[in-house]
Amino acid sequence: MSRYLYLALVSLFVCAFFSLTSPAQVAKKAGDVAASGKQAVNLAKAGRCKEALPGLKRAAQHDADPALKRDAGFAGVRCAMTIGETESAIDFLRFLKREFPRDPDVLYLAVHTYSDLSTRASLELAMTAPASPEAHQLNAESLEVQGKWDEAEKEYRQILTQNPNRPGIHYRLGRILLSKPDFGPAMAEQAKGEFQQELAIDPSNAGAEYVLGALARQNQQWDEAIQHFSQAAKLDAGFGDAFLDLGMSLVTVKKYSEAIPPLETAVKLEPQNPTAHYNLAVAYRRGGRQTDAEREFAIHRKMTEQNAAPPGSSQENPN
């Protein structure tokens, strides 16, 4: 049964229940649900998950006893995962997060459940299509997370032997090169080449444009940086950092009037980013718009003061 059908049926059931029954009957029915819910929880504890699940679902919807709802929710997630009913597990988890949003036990359970679901999906991909580019890519990403840069690189290169024009792979190879501990100027050039190849395959990759801009900025090649940041911002109108770094680069080369539009966009996209406000203030100030500058400086100052930890807030140096 799909989640939506299930919820619809439950809703119909609840409506019918309240419209056709007297208060005494309601109390009796509630007592029945509570009893069956407890029984379902006990069944789940005993490992009889298939039998337990229907009762757990009913108990989870029962609004008289929060403790029972919570127990049923937890048992529901565990049972559904045990018998492979992943959709039900997700439903139970959503229910728990909605009803007990700040409960650490719920959040902990969510971490493990989603992690388990992710592992299962990975295994399914590995079993179903082990030689597929997707399987190689997943493996490469996993190796990246572990910091195994060389092995990850091999996996990505394997994908390129299968499909030299697969979008996203050169981009990821470029990032790996930038992440390696023995990174040096030569590797930066190599990484740059990967990002350029990525753009040859997929000219719409805003991330590749952005990183090329960042590399150029590191080398103080401002014209090139501005060109790449501009392109990244053009490709992705919601890419706040691209607008911000474009504006900052323009400020650096003293093109204050040109810096104002991208910085204004950055501020709109990321209104809580003090760096954006600061650079917009600088661009206004140097561009002769003193009143606007003072407004932005004031916003930045307020943000900076708020971010400064007041005395008494911490006993541990925030290293």
Partner: protein, 580 residues
């Protein structure tokens, strides 16, 4: 001194990092670090082989056997890691630079036995020094931080203002080799935690006033137990409240008035370490650049009516390019690009890079740290004492930096950052700064917990020497070996209508094709005070065609001199129209 590494990693697009996952967030940081390291060795030595610019003068040769003691405790009180300062001064007016060294001492968290004391060493004119502290009566004894030297009463003898954690001291120079503590009478005790101080004439009345940096709101009862990995650690200053610095007006009768409020300084509580007084907008009034730790720096612009405007954010010297407050410590001001406008420098903590601010002539500045290479070279460093001066007398202002991380646990927390750090030397070619540290001899490879740093020519050879104080260790006296390979003229300035020390005066000189202007700023560096004389380098040229002194207000006159000697010191007294 208050950075924390994690929060300083360069900002990289969240969009990109989200795609990349947490473990890859640092890739540009790694990239930047690698570039910085690779860049350090690019500059070949500009000086002849083997002759290194500075040699260490050992205590056995100098006779300076005094050592700084921080009074380090298991509680790790913050002042333990911040001191102390030093000075070159000619206290007996014999024409030879003496040395003053500041020590820790008795305070609410320390009662050393035997007591600690500051030290005054008289220059014996032969490369050695004699400890005259007791006779001079300048031992202090409190928890010392810094020193500012200035002739506040115009009697021709330099007086001492010793900043302390607790209560600072004004020592009046009696002119007979002794000093008198006149703090109470003068009204300049500045209770609290004072750091750097500077003598300068803020109201152009011809008398030296006093600005005293104040650090955080701290005493033993407010000490906070901080730690890292279960070990006690020096707290970051962010955990303590800011305090306003002090401005004292010299009344001309041996007393001072506290004008902190009326001047507008009190409106800006900070966590001030370094200060330099200089006229950054060429309006004839002395401004103040103040480095704050974990707060925005201050640029107090002197508006001439006894009032200062704080314009650091508008001027572009308050924050990093990302708009983040950093851990400003040492500062200086100089016209390093010879365009007639004072530029600024501030040293920060590791991960933050130092800043060199070029004056745009409109009360704004551009940080040239990246294009100058200073950003990359200082990325992992923490800087305190620093000074622009022409160490090789080629006519260009070079830059000397004294470094050391304040956190003695830093190496276990952040690989790649060290507690003790080497000194750095940047040579100004006239077009760019070159990091010549690696080519400048073993002293620039020696790891130090350097703090204060003063510049002065203790052997009168025209080559400016350097004194570096080291936290909880002996100071380092460095003899300049290369300045005298070029020609020079040393100039002492004595104001008559203007303030006695000529703070704010400028000296323009022409030697053949070389025309330069040197401005006498107040203070600069960290907790330290410098040789008051200007040394004008002329390279291999053998003649100075003319020299013009522009005195600060209320004098304000220009005096031009010709027929000048070279390779010796002269004194120019305001209004006398001649050199002697």
């Amino acid at each position: 001194m208050g950075k924390r590494f994690a929060e300083l990693k360069p900002c990289i697009s969240r969009r990109v990092t989200d795609q990349m996952g947490c473990s890859r967030r640092q890739f540009l940081w790694t990239m930047a670090g690698s570039l910085a390291v690779s860049n350090l060795s690019r500059f070949a030595g500009a000086l002849p082989d083997i002759v290194y610019p500075f040699d260490e003068v050992l205590a056995s040769a100098s006779g300076i056997h005094w050592s700084h003691s921080a009074g380090k405790s298991p509680e790790k009180y913050l002042p333990e890691t911040t001191g102390a300062g030093c000075a070159f001064l000619d206290y007996d007016n014999d024409g030879w630079m003496d040395i003053y060294l500041v020590n820790s001492g008795k305070c609410d968290f320390l009662n050393p036995n035997p007591p600690l004391h500051n030290a005054l060493y008289r220059n014996n004119r032969d490369g050695t020094f004699t400890d005259v502290t007791g006779k001079a009566g300048v031992a202090a004894g409190g928890y010392g931080q810094g020193i500012a030297v200035g002739d506040y009463d115009g009697d021709g003898f330099p007086d001492l203002y010793v900043t302390q954690y607790g209560r600072s001291i004004l020592y009046h120079n009696n002119g007979d080799g002794t000093f008198t503590d006149v703090t109470e009478k003068a009204g300049v005790a500045a209770p609290g935690w004072s750091s750097s101080a500077v003598w300068f004439d803020y109201d152009n009345d011809g008398r030296l006033d006093l600005f005293v940096c104040r650090f955080v709101d701290f005493d033993q009862s407010k000490n906070r137990p901080c730690g890292a990995g279960g070990k006690p650690e020096y707290c970051i200053p962010r955990l303590y409240g800011p305090m306003a610095s002090w401005l004292f007006h010299n009344n001309g009768d041996g007393t001072f008035s506290d004008v902190t409020k009326s001047s507008g300084i009190a409106k800006f509580p900070g966590k001030a370490w370094g200060v330099v007084a200089a006229d950054v907008n060429n309006d004839g009034r002395m401004d103040l650049f103040v480095a704050n730790d974990t707060l925005a720096n201050f640029l107090f612009l002197n508006r001439g009516d006894g009032h200062y405007d704080q314009i650091a954010d508008q001027a572009g010297v308050a924050y990093s390019a990302e708009g983040k407050a950093r851990s400003g410590m040492g500062v200086d001001a100089a016209d390093f690009n010879e365009d007639g406008w004072m530029d600024l420098f501030v040293a920060n903590i590791d991960g933050e890079m130092y800043s060199i601010y070029q004056n745009n002539h409109d009360e704004t500045f551009d940080d040239m740290a990246l294009p100058s290479g200073i950003a990359k070279a200082t990325k992992m460093m923490s800087g305190w004492g620093l000074k622009f001066f022409d160490y090789d007398n080629d006519g260009n202002l070079d830059l000397f930096l004294a470094n050391g991380n304040p956190d003695d646990l830093i190496e276990s927390l952040h690989p790649g950052v060290t507690y003790r750090e080497p000194l750095m030397l940047f040579r100004n070619t006239g077009k760019a700064f070159q990091n010549v540290s690696e080519q400048s001899g073993p002293i620039f490879a020696k790891p130090l917990s350097a703090r204060g740093m003063a510049v002065g020519d203790f052997d009168n050879d025209g080559a400016l020497d350097v004194l570096v104080t080291v936290n909880d260790a002996a100071p380092l006296l460095l003899r300049n070996k290369v300045g005298a390979l070029n020609h020079w003229l040393g100039v002492g300035l004595v104001g008559k209508k203007s303030n006695p020390d000529g703070i704010g005066a400028s000296v323009t000189y022409q030697a053949g094709d070389l025309k330069r202007t040197r401005v006498k700023v107040g203070g600069g560096s960290y907790l330290s005070s410098h040789d008051p004389r200007l040394v004008l380098g002329i390279g291999k040229r053998v003649k100075i065609d003319w020299l013009e002194v522009t005195w600060p207000q209320p004098g304000g006159s220009k005096e031009r001199f010709t027929d000048l000697p070279i390779d010796r010191y002269i004194t120019i007294v305001e209004g006398q129209g001649k050199s002697k």
